[in-house]
Amino acid sequence: MRVNISKNKIEDPFVLKIQELSGQNLLACYQCGKCSAGCPAVSEMDILPNQIIRYAQLGFKNELLESRSIWICESCFMCNSRCPKGINIAEVIEALRQILLRKRKDHLEVEKMSGDEKEDVPPIALISSMRKFTS
């Protein structure tokens, strides 16, 4: 894969926004991969958690905001608990979701769910998925 790394991308306000919303220092990551090794959801992801951090450091905005991974992460905190550098990867992924959700780009279309579908799942599931996937 050809990857274009540029100073412009690295200095994009997008990178600062991720750091601000997540409260994490992206440059602390040294790519050991423990987050991805422990993540229970990697089989469903297109970009792995350690790659998400690398892409974020380099300002790969489109790749991150269009990825499936950010909607697959369940914030189970396995990555956070395993990171030897103390980076909260789940918070970084939350920041990426928030950047989209704050522009009303919802992932879950609750209005398209039928009454039966909504009744089928417990309130705890509906509320948490709306909290994570809607603006």
Binding site: P40, A41, S43, S75, F77, M78, M113, V121, L126
Partner: protein, 292 residues
């Protein structure tokens, strides 16, 4: 002993089996439980964005209700409520400027919040306050010859500042099951997430996860799996229907709340177990073991 109790949204419907079995067990242990008045949903997930204070209002409002009821601690059963309430409280304690802002927004509350309510999960209360030794003395029907895998999921043990036990290898549920007379089975998936709220729009992920988690447990000899979270219970029990459709070799297994197992051991009546809410009926196994 008297406990202030925060139920949360799902304990009053899909997880009524969790609530009823807990209340009956605590009654058998001579503990008074008082549900806090006017509680509201905690939001189910802790708000992770640094600037999102608004979503901490719901959990903190519940902690104000606890204070209003005259208590300085609150018991939760649901792992997600426990995590959300405790994490919000920890943030208020560590960031006083956030606490000020939250109190500003809640100017109509009569009580000002000060980060001074302790949030406890029932399992912690059983271990640290009631104590397992005292529980053991009240057991009338030990769960002999019952092999139980204990599933913690994520929010009961992570993150470290919130969790009730070691986050990599918790044993509190195994310890409880041993006290109840059962044989706890250790299995490697006990802290692996069940895929949580993905169950709403991506239930196929949950079906896959349930397959891995439950097959690991039964493969190691478990006859049932104990849980402590209504969302884990839904995903591991109700979603077994989908798991079976996708994986014909899947071996179904009953999922029980640890409180239901405690209720059986303490001699609570069958009505408090509410097995009508289960997809995989635990009755055949419990009858075979002469526990019902």
């Amino acid at each position: 002993m008297k406990l202030s109790y925060y139920p949360g949204c799902t304990l009053k419907n899909h997880a009524k089996n969790f609530e009823d079995s807990t209340l009956c067990s605590l009654e058998h242990l001579g503990i008074e439980v008082e549900e806090i008045p006017r509680w509201n949903c905690c939001g189910t997930v802790f708000s992770l964005a640094t600037d999102d204070l608004m979503h901490h209002l719901a959990p903190i409002r519940n902690l104000i209700r606890v204070k209003e009821s005259g208590s300085d601690s609150v018991m939760t059963l649901c792992s997600m409520c426990f995590n959300t309430l405790k994490a919000a409280n920890e943030r208020m304690k560590s960031q006083p400027e956030d606490l000020d802002k939250i109190n500003d927004f809640m100017y109509r509350e009569n009580v000002k919040y000060e980060g001074d309510v302790k949030i406890l999960h029932l399992l912690e209360i059983l271990r640290d306050e009631i104590k397992f030794d005292n529980l053991a003395k009240k057991i009338v029907k030990p769960l002999n010859n019952l092999k139980i895998a204990n599933y913690y999921g994520c929010l009961l043990v992570r993150p470290k500042e919130i969790g009730i036990d070691d986050m990599e290898n918790p044993t509190i549920m195994e310890d409880l099951m041993s006290v109840l007379g059962a044989d706890p089975i250790d299995f490697p998936y006990k802290t692996e997430c069940c895929a949580s709220y993905q169950t709403v729009d991506k239930p196929e992920i949950v079906a896959d996860r349930a397959y891995s988690i439950l097959s690991s447990a039964t493969g190691l000899g478990a006859e049932m799996v104990a849980v402590s979270c209504p969302l884990c219970a839904f995903n591991l029990d109700q979603r077994q229907k989908r798991t079976l459709e996708k994986y014909p070799d899947f071996k179904t297994v009953p999922i029980l709340y640890f409180s239901q197992l405690m209720a059986i051991a303490l001699g609570c009546p069958e009505e408090s177990l509410r097995f009508d809410l289960h997809y995989i009926d635990p009755m055949p196994l419990l009858k075979e073991k002469k526990l019902i």
